[in-house]
Amino acid sequence: MPERSAEPVPASLGDSLADGFDGRDESLPPADWGRPSGPRRTATVWLFAVFIVLLGVGEAWLSDRLTNEAFLAWATIFTAISLQAMPFLVFGVALSAALTAFVPASFWQRVIPKNAAAAVPVAGAAGAVLPGCECASVPVANGLIRRGVAPAAALTFLLSAPAINPIVLVATAVAFPGQPEMVAARFVASLGAAVVVGWLWARFGRTDWMRPQRVHHDPGATKWQVFADSMRHDLMHAGGFLVVGGLAAATLNVIVPRDWVIAVADMPVVSVLVLALLAILLSICSEADAFVAASLSEFSNTAKLAFLVVGPMVDLKLIALQAGTFGWTFVRRFVPLVLIATLVFSFAIGGLLL
């Protein structure tokens, strides 16, 4: 009698159980469903509890033992940059999240011209209205792109808003009393550089250089949930990189000897490039940079102008923020372009007006 069977005979009980288990696989949720999040969530809470205890121990035991002057000066400047930037970052992120959650996309399509070449100057001029420093403008530009504004126009706004907003222009006028041409030169050179970069980006820029910013929200989420989610997301991405920029700027602030900078002040072209480089390294907020520029009195006015035009558009903190928001592929192309445009405009406008 031939051994025939409808099914292959299982070799063992274990195999039969395993087969049966495999067979039921599709009706079961994935193996990791719900499993890691519970313990992981608890572990996270414990981790933070330990961290907070360590903060307390550190405060009680370590605070008085840190006496190295250079380290403390570094820590002061790092804390200062972080604290000073934080309200602006929170404001910018909240504004960006509000654009995402509450302003319908159709509004932007009505207000901003469809044609990117026409939208760029509009966006550049809009920068003169909205007060905000560079930490705020990156998330706002990101929010605009999310809402369908042409990237070239949003980037023009990103560049012009911190450079030519009313607070910055007033600060510049206060820092350079009796020199209104300094304010005019700053306005013209910054707006010119921002618009030219925008046009170049509209003509040659590619969308896939920027990290995709489309965010899908739960269709059932309320507007406030979308707002909170978008804010948390932007804070995590931009905030971490802001700290990187703050660390770099504080380090350079403490280790670059001021005498080196002063030594080159008399060389005409080199001094302009040196102040541009200093603006990039120091990463001072655009609302304060005019006072610093005014204090660099050995330098020519064109060099100071370069400091004021380059600083709000290219600096370490800003590069880090942009990398966190748009990705390094974008930064590698955008930052050199902006740097060249700002330098060209600094030399040209400095030569014409100052």
């Binding site: 469903w33 001072i284 009195s297």
Partner: protein, 252 residues
Amino acid sequence: MNRIAQGLVLVLLGAASLSATLATDLYLNYVQEVFRPFLIGAGVVLVVLGVVSIAADVRVASQGGDAPEDHAYDDYAHAGHGHDHGRGPGVAWLLLLPVVAVFVIAPPPLGAYSASNGAAAEAPKEAEEGGFADLGTNGDGPRTMELQEFVMRAWTDQDRALSGREVELTGFVVPHPDGKGWYLARLQMACCAADAIVNRVLITGEKEPAKDTWWTVRGTWQEPKGELQDVRDHRFTVTEMKDVENPPDPYE
């Protein structure tokens, strides 16, 4: 970085901002006084946002589910070049550094170290005509001035009204690099400590007090012989000096 960790980071960051402004005056070591309401506002927003994030996560967990955002439902995440919306990037852990800086290090205001290495205020290029505050006369008693006001006046007032006028200045002691006297200095901050520049007067007639100690000195400006703007450091003749507790706002 999962959602609950992000929420906790936000709460801690907000707490650092609130503790430096509401519980203590620590923020004055780093930024201008006008920043206080903005720091408080940012702190409150961060704490609220953090609590909302944690609460949402816990609510989803208690319903037996996983936070929906923990599954990549951003289309681009599947394409391999996007980021998952629910999970934070690793770099966000760095947001704990300012928290450590405020709670553990609590860095002191910049002092003599930065004043000897940082940027010193320089003579402005143009002299100003008039527009100066009336200094009164010595009969009115000594005039209290900020160091910043004093050195600017000394550099720019072609009428040299400061000459002979008794003035009171407050600042901290910075050693002279060559040991020829010492500086009474004060840091001037436009926005935050990163842009601080130092205003200082050179004192040669008095024995040098300990570095970084604060003094109020009374005396007069030593009028220079040549052009005002060629002066590197203005000199000050001290008639009387007394030590002071650190003023509440260390910067001018």
